[in-house]
Amino acid sequence: MKLVGRIPVDPLDDERLTNIERRIVAGAADAAARGRPARESRMHVVLGFAIAAVAVLIAGVIGWRLRGPGEARVAAAEAPLHIRSDRERATVDLGDATIASDPASAFTVTRPDGGVLVALARGRVELEVQKRGDRAPLVVRAGDTDVIVVGTHFSVDYGDGRGDVDVRVTEGVVRVVHKQKETRLAAGQAWTTRRGLVAIAELERLAAVQAPGAGGEVEIDMGATVVEPARKPTPPPPNKPAGTGTGSGATAPESVARPGGNRTPPAPERPAAPAPADPNTDLKTQIRRQLVAPALDVGETAPAKAIGRYLDIVNDKKKLGEEASQAFYSIAVTQHLRLGDTQAALRTLDGYLRRFVGLEGSKQYQEALWLRVRVRCLAAVDDSCRQAAMAYVQKHPDGPRGVVADRITNSR
């Protein structure tokens, strides 16, 4: 009974294929995100929407009533906003940009001439900015330094508002204007008042070298975040100096307004630097101390060329070979340490951990697990960082890395 190749397949016409493709593309993102079948009957979808709407409404009411001194997320209005987060992180959603500030940070947001001006008085802010197209740019002003952005992800650290400025770009490109001199920063690059343009990886390496000894337990004291209406409605335009004295553009707050509108007595002014810029500095220092295994030496100094060589090895060798594993890992190391490209490094690592799951007990796999902890947790000690640490500590609970990973999982 020979039937192979004897039953011709009737092809589907282009129109049918196009329709199928359109439906799949529309449903795929949703299905992948929700982890459940996206193809349901219309009634189920309608019912689902109705239930979701009611749930969101109830959650919103409950959340509003129960809101405490936790992380604040407010939408900035057209009027200037003064944000001061004393003991906690604050997040401000501007619609076209999100600003997350570390504890002990203060900044003012205004919208002069269609642009956005973030005048940083002290502390550190991290921004995710959507492409602004033809609109005026978003400017972060820290003293006499302007960081101009058209759409990217970066952070600006102004410490206590009197010293150096530290700008780090993780996605896109920004321009830094300092003392009328402009510097262009790409992803993976940093700029500091003292050092000028430098790779993020280099800054991290220096920080690791200069870091003091290990500290105690990680403790984050959550304080109040205040959102203050501006007293002066006219903000400074982005092309003019924002203030005098320390160079800050933020107005010192005199009264406090909570999101609900109740006014409270003025908060006492704190000393210049009551808390470190990042409450997880100590934890990050410990992470940096656990050195990662170096990338394979392929005789290339340029990162891009080295990655090309690693890919050659990955493609040449047998699927699960040890050398292929080392080359694959080396791509992630290069992306993280030499290019400072966190997202690419994480994508590569996810691919590595899936592909070489058969080598789970190997040293290389352990290195990859740790590298993922390092990449995620140096970016932010958040849930994804803790998950990476948990995955590591489940496999390798012993040793100094296991101890650090365990601390990460217990961090708040």
């Binding site: 009974m1 020979k2 039937l3 192979v4 190749g5 004897r6 039953i7 397949v9 009737d10 589907l12 049918r16 294929l17 329709n19 199928i20 493709e21 439906r23 799949i24 593309v25 449903g27 795929a28 993102a29 299905a31 992948a32 995100a33 929700r34 982890g35 459940r36 079948p37 996206a38 193809r39 890919l311 990955v314 493609n315 040449d316 060798k317 047998k318 699927k319 292929a324 994508r347 996810d350 691919g351 899936r354 592909r355 799951v357 058969g358």
Partner: protein, 202 residues
Amino acid sequence: MAAAYVEDILLVDRCLTGEPAATRELFRRHRGRVHACLFRVLGHNRDMDDLLQDAFLQVFQSLRGWRAEASLATWIDRVAVRVAYRYLSQRGRRVPTEALVDDEAAPARDEGPGASRQMARDGVARLYAVLDELSPAARLAFTLHEIDGRTIAETAELVGSSVTATKLRVWRARKRIEAAAAEDPILSQFLDPTALDREVAP
């Protein structure tokens, strides 16, 4: 091979970020094979739009679960076979696939290429009519092995059964078809009873 493997990994990563272009690329890369596989199992394109859509949506829904142990193509085929199994189970075993040609009423056939094509079409219709009487598991095993050309081991992996169980299903299906062919000259002519596959000999 390894290059394709890495490409698959990178493509899946892009899909997981929700990139529509990656979704489209994955679909276009695999749709031909999945369609052919489903067509050979079912014998027609009637509900193919829904089946392809179901299969690929399940692929994208479960993409995070692909651990890169099997090739992406094999993994997608497994999803497609599950969709086909569910379709066959829900549809019922006795619903005929195609209207059979009535032997008595059929017009006298001319000799020549047109006639042989018609004979082949009739033979295919009769074959799938017999397959409609099989259980979904037996039909899948038989079509994947005998028509789609997969080895017994591959077929067993796709249907999630042991090699022995799969062999047995293929053998039983073949016996059933041979029995039908003994009473049906058109089907008998379509099948080639001399080329027995040693791999599934009982």
